[in-house]
Amino acid sequence: MSRYVLRFFALGYLVLLLLVPVGFVFYRAFEHGLGAAWEAVTTPQALHALELTLLIAAIAVPANTVFGIVLALALVRGRFKGRGLLNAVVDLPLALSPIVVGLSLFLLYGRGGWLGGLAEHGIKILFAVPGMVLATMFVSLPFVVREVVPVLREIGTEQEQAAETLGARPFQVFRRITLPAIRSAVAYGVVLTTARAIGEFGAVSVVSGKIQGKTETLPLYVADQFESFNVAGAYAASVVLALIAIGTVVGLRAFQPKEVH
């Protein structure tokens, strides 16, 4: 009996909070037909926003993947002072408000900021793509690291040491032994990083300046369309983002680390 009460409560909570709202956005996006929705997401402004979103992800995700692996190696294999601090800093983007992230970049690269002088030398960071990439890198930094660290701990160093005694160079050891072992954890982290990079709103909205057709990503476009009363456009773009999210969830299933299932 209590089992059914619990099941009813848990599933009811999920349905009301998650499934019905997301389903309803799909309904609202397509209520005037497929053609209308297609038209709404293929306006030049929407297409540009999609392109920019993908461009930013295409820079931030590989950067966080490569440096994420290096960070994980340093955290697990390195023995140096300040490792605990490094560990806390890596987690910080998970717990920090994206608005604080955006504001920090704004103050660093803005007028009067420590690196504000870069703009005078023609290196535009704020209200341009580089600033948006930096914001995206900040917020999506922990995902690859956090997935790879436990796997590195678990596999230990025995095989790496064996390879090394047999004369393999450090990079060879990494490519032949370490990388294959962490491959699925990296993939899982990459999926999470990509989802966050594509969906980031708060941090990017502070540093972008939200210039239509120039520094507007797809999430910013959704907010902009909603606020300028083009609700149909906002819903249609939301559906594109929701489909990417659903793709992410499916991708996560595919790369799920063993310890969960």
Partner: protein
């Protein structure tokens, strides 16, 4: 060849940790400094502005204090609801059996994958003005709480689920055979085992709720002293040109985030020490 002999005498991992390790350490620290630490240092520097007095003045303006209070109360409520609902969902996913369980399990990750602005728009469409159920929580504190619950849903579920999977059911069966009711078994046996996982999930959900912006900004209406949370307040201050005010409140949020993370870390270390004894 004396050099190669020296290399062989050293423990093998010393070679890797000397060459690769130093490089990894340097690259890792450099990347973190450029991407994370330098911006945060600039933030703290700007918040200090004209000294500690003006920092304090900006941080304790009535509107900023009201926003901070609302943020903390809503985040605490959100953490509490998550503790109950998240544990219940994890329980149902691990111990219950019903058709479509795999799909439900996958759906849990959706709030992590869905852009926060879409989450906000989604809730506003359903529970806002003109929604199909006739429920309208737009521009209310309840609406903000809804948004926070949406984005924090996975934290407790995903923290509790693996622990529950590994938990041996023998103890529970023994307790039940000795006459304990279902609630008694849960309270005396299951709950104490799950508590650390629940707490760390709750702490992360709390931190996330304190900082949330995208999901909240549309549904809250941003009414000062009523529905304005700190992240939205910071954004408003920045747009009206009060950079120091924005930075001052941001430093408070940064301190809360760091506090939560260090708390979780300390709790974990404390537990491993006590488990090994």
């Amino acid at each position: 060849m004396p050099t190669s002999a020296a290399v062989l005498e050293r423990p093998p991992d010393a070679v890797l940790s000397r060459a690769g390790g130093a490089l990894a350490k340097g690259v890792a620290t450099g990347y973190l400094t450029i991407v994370v630490l330098l911006p945060l240092a600039a933030l703290v520097w700007s918040a200090r502005g004209g000294g500690l007095g003006s920092f304090w003045h900006q941080a304790t303006l009535p509107e900023s204090l009201a926003a901070l209070k609302l943020t903390l109360v809503l985040a605490a409520l959100c953490a509490l609801v998550n503790a109950v609902a998240g544990t219940a969902i994890a329980w149902v996913l691990v111990r219950d059996r019903f058709p479509g369980k795999g799909i439900v399990d996958a759906v849990i990750d959706l709030p992590f994958a869905l852009p926060t602005i879409v989450a906000g728009l989604t809730l506003l469409a359903l529970y806002g003005p003109g929604g199909p159920f006739g429920i309208d929580v737009a521009f209310t504190r309840l609406g903000v709480l809804f948004a926070l619950l949406f984005v924090t849903l996975p934290f407790v579920v995903r923290a509790v689920q693996p622990v529950l999977l590994e938990l041996d059911t023998e103890m529970e069966e023994a307790a039940a055979s000795l006459g304990a009711g279902a609630l008694g078994v849960f309270r005396r046996i299951v709950f104490p085992n799950l508590l650390p996982a629940i707490l760390s999930g709750v702490a992360l959900a709390f931190a996330r709720a304190v900082g949330e912006f995208g999901a909240v900004v549309l549904i809250s209406g941003n009414i000062p002293f009523r529905t304005e949370v700190s992240s939205v307040y910071i954004f408003g201050q920045l747009q009206s040109g009060n950079e120091q005010g924005a930075a001052a409140v941001s430093v408070l949020l940064l301190a809360i985030s760091l506090g939560v993370l260090l708390g979780i870390g300390a709790f974990r270390r404390w537990r491993t020490r006590h488990d090994s004894v």
